[in-house]
Amino acid sequence: MKLLKLVPDHTNLDFMRWRNLALILSLIATVASITFTVYRGLNLGVDFVGGQLVRVTFAQPIDVEKLRTEVDSMHLGEASIQEFGGPRTFQIRLPKPAGGDAAANVAATRVKQMIATDYRGAKVDSVDTVSGKVSEELAADSAKAIALAMIGIALYIWFRFEWQFGVGALLTLAHDVAMTLGFFAFTRLQVDLNVVAAFLTIVGYSLNDTVVIYDRIRENLRKYRKMAILPLLNLSLNETLARTVVTSFTVLIALGVLMLIGPEVIFGLAIAIFLGVVIGTYSSIYISAPVLVWLGVEPDSFLKGDEKDSAEPQAV
């Protein structure tokens, strides 16, 4: 049987030749993402702004405009209605009531009653009620968790490699998270707790490729002490290219399936990680590696650390 090779043997692509162009593009994309996120804002779910979310599956296809008019006529504040997963499933979002948290559940209860009387056979799939206090905490905790994870991983890379690698990891992570945020701001996909889980996963997994490439760079720095840094980076990237592509491919197969036929509730999570993996693959080549050049890593930079490294046991 002839085996499939997504990447041919002996590739010799000059990745680093495009590093400045890639940097400019990445920079533009990152700035654009952040600007977009700040100005357009994220479509934050009730988890982070408080309020209520009612998901309903109707027995027959319904007239959305009619439902919208009915909900609006109940004067529950700025309500929004969206299709969710299928033509008969909708989510109705209600804002936090003015009367404080104690009155929070009344709105959803009234909507549920209205649906039960006006639409025969409709099923309420789920109701989420989050008070302002809890949503503020969830938002703060999520931001804290993502920041902590980024710093924690950067520190670990610093500890295992050198400080330049730690900085590279941190910049790569910042890039990946910013781009994914930009995607959510652009598509207006709802950001809920699951999506935060996805961001934390991206922080862990988008660095996967970076770690593998850094490991190879370190190995080659030790092996080829006379080689200039740019060819050495190119060599390392080419040597690991097959692995980078194959692994990203397997992860994308699994996530793609989850996105396409998995439960609707976790679509946001699946697409966020899918995207994070794609961005992470790119940034491991065009951000993690070139950063080392700008931070002045040279083939003889770590000669002193060499004895320490070679004495290090590698088994887990």
Partner: protein, 530 residues
């Protein structure tokens, strides 16, 4: 690396067998084959999160203002009881304003004695060296009791413990349901009840403090004063529960709900719902004595500072049994009976987060999740097979073993599988083969460099190990932080990722190395097709 001692082979085999055995009950759950699983084999099961099983999740928070109020009231009762004892000290102008309890000692020569007796009511707070109340004298005859911060904190902690038990008893009087009631972060209680689709009934049960008190009606009060909210000394004005005005009642509690042994919903002579209550011995004696002394006077039945009714005492009630009437429906009488029987909540609880998932959505999620997992795994397996041939087969065996191990470990710890957890499972399947990809690509590389077969395989595993280790540590960091900060479903996701990292290193590295070693030893191949 080709020396693979027999005991290691056995050990790895044993771990895998254990994983498969542990995971089967969870896989069979809900299918007709579940009963076919022999009883003498492990019965551990993964529990399903509310987002998959359906049910209600409520997060309750203690109302700090109410906690303080209840504590002051409790202290007021203790003070009144203490000073009424011999030698009696007469006091007046009791006030609980500004979060402090203060009163006037009528006879100035008794001030010191009053302070002394107040001190006996305070208690040291464990390990802090502080007492729970500060006792001071102001303007020479006014005694002021101020709760200390440590005392308040301790009281809240105690109250939360009691509240947790009361909530559990109210939701599940029989103690048979699989519900979760735990305290969180000092002033919160998390309640999870599977299978409940409408949390309204739950919230009604929890929403009531159910502090029941019997107090005499103050007949001396001037109706105009009562309307204006002013009560004579020693009395207070309380609103009627049905909103029909207010009434002045004596501050002193005749009997309180703490002295009940039972409460049941029942009907009065006219067929209206009411509640039958039974006092304990001390309560019955006291109730009997007070009713004996006050025949033909009305007394008020007060629930959470609202007067339910104020019947007349026609004759002494000596048997320790009484009926509470009010404008009840059968349901509200039943709920109140359950609440009374389970004891009062030492603090009012507010619902600050509520999530309900219907059972059908959960079933649909499981169904779609399982299909996606199977299709995703199959996709990865085919891809690995066409990319690495024999080594792909090894990676695939490892992948399947990995799936069983994850489920087995989750079952062993009775971990909760949530919807995001299913995503974590699929992600782990996709990412677990990364270790094999790293190893196999390295072996390919070493062969291209002209290394001999043994050497190439050996170097491949050794050199890839470093990157595998570092990459997995980054996963552990992010998943660990997620498990720490995340709530419910997200934590379920993190747990699957964490377990998946551990098992995938075992299966993808050690297990496949064993398979490769055994194969090379058995067939002594000349060349590698990889």
């Amino acid at each position: 690396m080709l020396e693979f001692p027999r005991w290691k082979v056995w050990l790895i085999g044993l771990v895998i067998a254990a994983g498969v055995l542990l995971s089967i009950p969870s896989l069979l759950a809900g299918t007709p084959y579940a009963s076919a699983w022999p009883k003498w084999l492990p019965q551990y099961k993964i529990s399903l999160g509310l987002d998959l099983a359906g049910g209600s999740h409520l997060l309750l928070e203690a109302d700090a203002g109410d906690a303080q109020k209840q504590r002051l009231q409790g202290m007021e009762d203790s003070v009144a009881t203490e000073l009424r004892r011999d030698p009696r000290i007469d006091i007046g102008d009791i006030s609980t304003a500004n979060g402090r309890l203060s009163f006037l000692v009528r006879n100035p020569t008794q001030v010191d004695a009053a302070v002394e007796r107040m001190r006996t009511l305070t208690r040291p707070v464990a390990l802090t060296g502080n007492r729970d109340w500060d006792v001071q004298v102001v303007d020479s005859t006014r005694v002021v009791l101020t709760p200390t911060p440590t005392g308040t904190a301790q009281a809240l902690k105690d109250a939360m413990g009691v509240a947790r038990d009361v909530v559990r008893r109210r939701i599940d009087p029989g103690g048979t349901k699989e519900i979760t009631v735990i305290t969180e972060g000092g002033n919160r209680i998390l309640v999870q009840v599977p299978g409940v689709e409408d949390p309204e009934a739950l919230k009604k049960l929890i929403g009531q403090t159910a502090r029941l008190e019997f107090k005499l009606v103050d007949l001396s009060a001037n109706p105009q004063d009562v309307q204006a909210g002013r009560a004579p000394p020693g009395s207070q004005v309380l609103p009627m529960a049905d909103g029909s005005g207010a009434m002045a009642v004596k501050r002193r509690v005749m009997v309180s709900g703490d002295q009940l042994t039972d409460a049941k919903q029942s009907f009065d002579q006219d067929g209206r719902p009411d509640i039958d209550i039974t006092f304990n011995t001390a309560g019955a004696r006291r109730f009997g004595r007070v009713t004996q002394e006050n025949v033909n006077k009305p007394f008020a039945i007060i629930l959470d500072d609202k007067i339910l009714s104020a019947p007349n005492i026609n004759e002494p009630i000596l048997g320790g049994r009484a009926q509470i009437s009010g404008s009840f429906t059968v349901q509200s009488a039943h709920d109140l009976a359950v609440s009374l029987a389970s004891g009062k909540l030492p603090v009012k609880l507010n619902v600050i987060e509520e999530r309900t998932v219907g059972p059908d959505l959960g079933k649909d999620s499981i169904h779609k999740g399982v299909i996606a997992s199977l299709v995703g795994t199959l996709g990865v397996i085919i891809f690995m097979l066409v990319t690495y041939g024999r080594f792909g087969v090894y990676a695939n065996i490892a992948l399947v073993v990995n799936a069983f191990l994850i489920l087995g470990i989750m079952a062993m710890f009775n971990a909760t599988l949530t919807l995001p957890g299913i995503a974590g499972f699929i992600l782990t399947i996709g990412a677990a083969v990364d270790a094999n990809v790293l190893i196999n690509e390295r072996i390919r590389e070493e062969i291209r460099r002209g290394r001999r077969l043994h050497d190439a395989v050996d170097t491949g595993y050794r050199e890839a190990m470093r990157a595998i280790f570092d990459a997995n540590v980054t996963h552990v960091i992010s998943a660990g932080i997620m498990a720490y900060f995340g709530s419910g479903p997200v934590r379920g996701f993190a747990v699957v990722l964490l377990i998946g990292v551990l098992t995938s290193v075992f299966t993808a590295v050690y297990f496949t190395r064993m398979l490769v070693a055994l194969w090379i030893r058995r067939t002594r191949p000349r060349a590698l097709h990889i």
